[in-house]
Symmetry: C2
Subunit: 461 residues, 2 copies
């Protein structure tokens, strides 16, 4: 099913219907579905419902769904699993996925699970968990088929038949010397097209290799640049310890691009639109406070050169000079611009990656505007008190109220613009990213200025 | 070789040395190197040198390098190739790459090449070129191995041996019915692990399918969501017309993420740092003009409410009221912020994707600051004339000069910040994306305000 297609929407609806009538039937549907679909459906329903249906599945199906699940869902489900159940699931998984899973569990639970596993698997997992998650070791799988250069192609095929249960299917086979150092690589296609009597060393190609502590992004770059199916990961002695697939590389790059985008906009990564509003507000407030501080510093510096403070105005408190009002304009439009860009960034990426399904559009829109308005309100209060204290020495004043109220309105308005613009672009078939950059900022600057000056001229001039 | 590693830097240097001593030896080195490396080296040298060395290679090696080359290099090299040479190269390539290549050539040249090819290939290429480049048809390969469900596994292997020359190695095999509709899929691993006497229909899995006119992003999402090696592309009758690989999907997503990032920052995509400075300035000026217009509109609206224009000031032209000065502050810091964000975006993505190699860091830094200063100068002139005309009715005035000069300085300074911050972060091991977002904007707002008010208070107050 194409994500976000009518087909998928139907299945999702059918699943949610079943859930409210019979959780057992919902579990059956989950068991029969592709685990990637199952993981997507579970992410969208109530946490308690998700847990109840998930706990009805057998360990094998649980393992498959967790392999496809977003971190958020994994962490929730793993947090509620008993240690024996978790052990069963871990045993069903490839080691790299199992290590990621244990990374989401409680430290004590992880230790219990490791203690319950057989020594070899536990040792492998401990080793994997010990690598920096951003290193090649942090993403590699340890299950890999290795053969020696003196073997015949037919023997390699036999060995693959024997090991095929344990190893992922699209990695090919690495050829290693006596010290387990990679000396060659054979794709499955090589094995199919060469005669079974050929010597491995005659048909293998040079392997591509990366050291286990190298950055995972270097691994991804290597795989993409040379179009590799698999990259060998070696330890300090050059011995093969794992393998990174093209699929891993694509995930690394996707996560990295999302991180860059989110950080540049000052939000955090991954499935933002699914988090509770207050958590999103909390994540974004620190940078907003930075913007407030920057704006207040600007206003004070400008006051130094223009020599004004509202109480120095002609008619005392309540009647400020226009220059005093304008000194706070950069703060207001800067803050509004930031919030607008954050909202539009979250929506644009959510639409591009498929995080925002058709059925969730309105919910997402409402949530994001809610976040914007809350941030606007909080920043408005801070700005009101700060500007009032700094300019007039008292925490409440008409001047402070004007600036604070304008902040709240301008930020809320910018959040609305930042949400409606990408959605509108999508309906019109225009790429939202084009309109949501400088265009959005310019428009929010102009309208923010109008909002501020309307309020200020009504209350202060 | 890991991109940007000391190894690669050495090879690159060696190649550039050879180039200046003997172009024939450089061509030999290129012929022996991995085509991905060759494509990267050619991109970085003088265009005429690149063409001379490239033209010494045989058609097969030329085809391989062009498969890995960035559009910019491809378009340059293809533009200089003779029609017979281009035909030879096209014959060496898979159809999807050949179609992309012809997309970079002149229309007349494309027609000549197609006329010189055999009818079947020409027809396939015409069809491929006719698809929207952003559709599934625009990225699919047409070389695909198909088998029928009644065949035995051993027969499939025989057929793969026969066709292996023409078809990419990591796509697996699609099973089709009599109407050529995909009904199953076999990975190479499936063929290796199953007995050669098994019936295809007993071991095949369900295929994943997308329609040829669907968006390429849907294809990429499908491949990523379900972890596919290959996706079948069908026409309106459901018949198989091509296949999209996991590698294609990863390219689609990378390009898409880069596009989103670039558009949100108001720059254009792909290898920005390699374009001539004036072309980059030209690409970015339209959106800067939008920002200027927004700023001027703001200033006029504010004037309406605050009732000022410099010539209404106490002492006539030359001495403006502070409120008149401050009305142009949003324009200046908005413009500076935009340019700073563009510079930092281009550098952050260039560093992340490996576009900016270690050896090019200083060149890139200089180029980007050059772009920023040029944009600052142009915007400064426009702002000077516009503000002067609007406020005082004459194209030149001390007031206009102050605003224009501050624009140029603030924009240039923001470009410098936008370049130095990511580079500095990288040296310190901090993710540049964190510091380059709202932090950069706040800092550029404060410093931009100081620049403006210093100039204005020196000249006007």
């Amino acid at each position: 099913m194409v994500p976000n297609s009518p087909d998928e929407d139907q299945s999702r609806e059918r699943f949610e219907e079943l859930l409210s009538s019979s959780q057992e039937h919902a579990a059956d549907m989950l068991q029969a579905a592709h685990p990637a679909d199952g993981a997507a459906w579970l992410l969208d329903i109530d946490e308690d419902d998700a847990w109840r249906v998930f706990s009805m599945l057998d360990a094998d199906c649980q393992a498959r769904i967790l392999e496809y699940a977003e971190d958020e869902l994994t962490s929730h489900l793993v947090g509620r699993m008993s240690t024996p159940d978790l052990r069963e699931v871990v045993e069903e998984m490839p080691t790299d996925e199992a290590a990621d899973l244990l990374g989401e569990a409680d430290d004590r639970v992880t230790q219990d699970v490791l203690a319950a596993l057989d020594d070899k698997t536990a040792e492998e997992l401990r080793q994997l968990i010990s690598y920096d998650p951003d290193s090649a070791g942090g993403v590699m799988a340890t299950e890999v088929i290795t053969v020696s250069p003196e073997m015949r192609v037919g023997d390699v095929v036999k060995q693959i038949k024997k090991q095929s249960e344990e190893v992922e299917g699209d990695l090919g086979t690495f050829v290693v010397d006596e010290e387990n150092r990679p000396v060659g690589y054979l794709s499955d296609r090589d094995l199919l097209t060469n005669n079974i009597h050929e010597l491995v060393e005659d048909v293998m190609v040079d392997p591509f290799v990366i050291e286990v502590h190298n950055d995972q992004e270097d691994a991804a770059r290597l795989i993409e640049r040379y179009g590799l199916q698999a990259l060998a990961v070696t330890n300090a002695n050059g011995a093969l310890v794992g393998v990174i697939s093209a699929e891993d590389a694509s995930e690394i790059r996707e996560v990295e691009a999302d991180e860059d985008i989110a950080r540049m906009a000052g939000t955090s990564t991954g499935q933002q639109t699914r988090l509770p509003i207050l958590r999103r507000v909390r994540q974004r407030m620190p940078l907003m406070m930075l913007t407030v501080i920057g704006g207040v510093v600007s206003a004070k510096i400008l006051a130094y050169f223009t020599g004004g403070s509202p109480n120095a105005g002609a008619a005392g408190e309540g009647i400020a000079q226009t220059s005093d009002i304008l000194r706070y304009l950069p703060l207001i439009i800067g803050l509004a611009g930031n919030v607008g860009v954050q909202s539009s960034t979250i929506l644009i990426r959510g639409l591009a990656t498929g995080e925002i399904e058709k059925s969730r559009e309105w919910r997402v829109l409402g949530g994001e505007i809610g976040v914007g308005v809350t941030i606007g309100l909080l920043c408005g209060i801070v700005v009101m008190v700060a500007s009032s204290l700094l300019e007039l020495g008292s925490p409440m004043s008409t001047f402070g109220f004007s600036v604070g109220a304008a902040t709240t309105l301008a930020v809320g308005w910018a959040a609305l613009l930042g949400c409606v613009t990408p959605m509108g672009c999508r309906s019109l078939g225009v790429d939202p990213a084009i309109v949501a950059g400088p265009f959005l900022i310019s428009f929010s600057d102009v309208t923010g200025s109008v909002i501020y000056i309307l309020i200020a001229s009504a209350l202060l001039l």
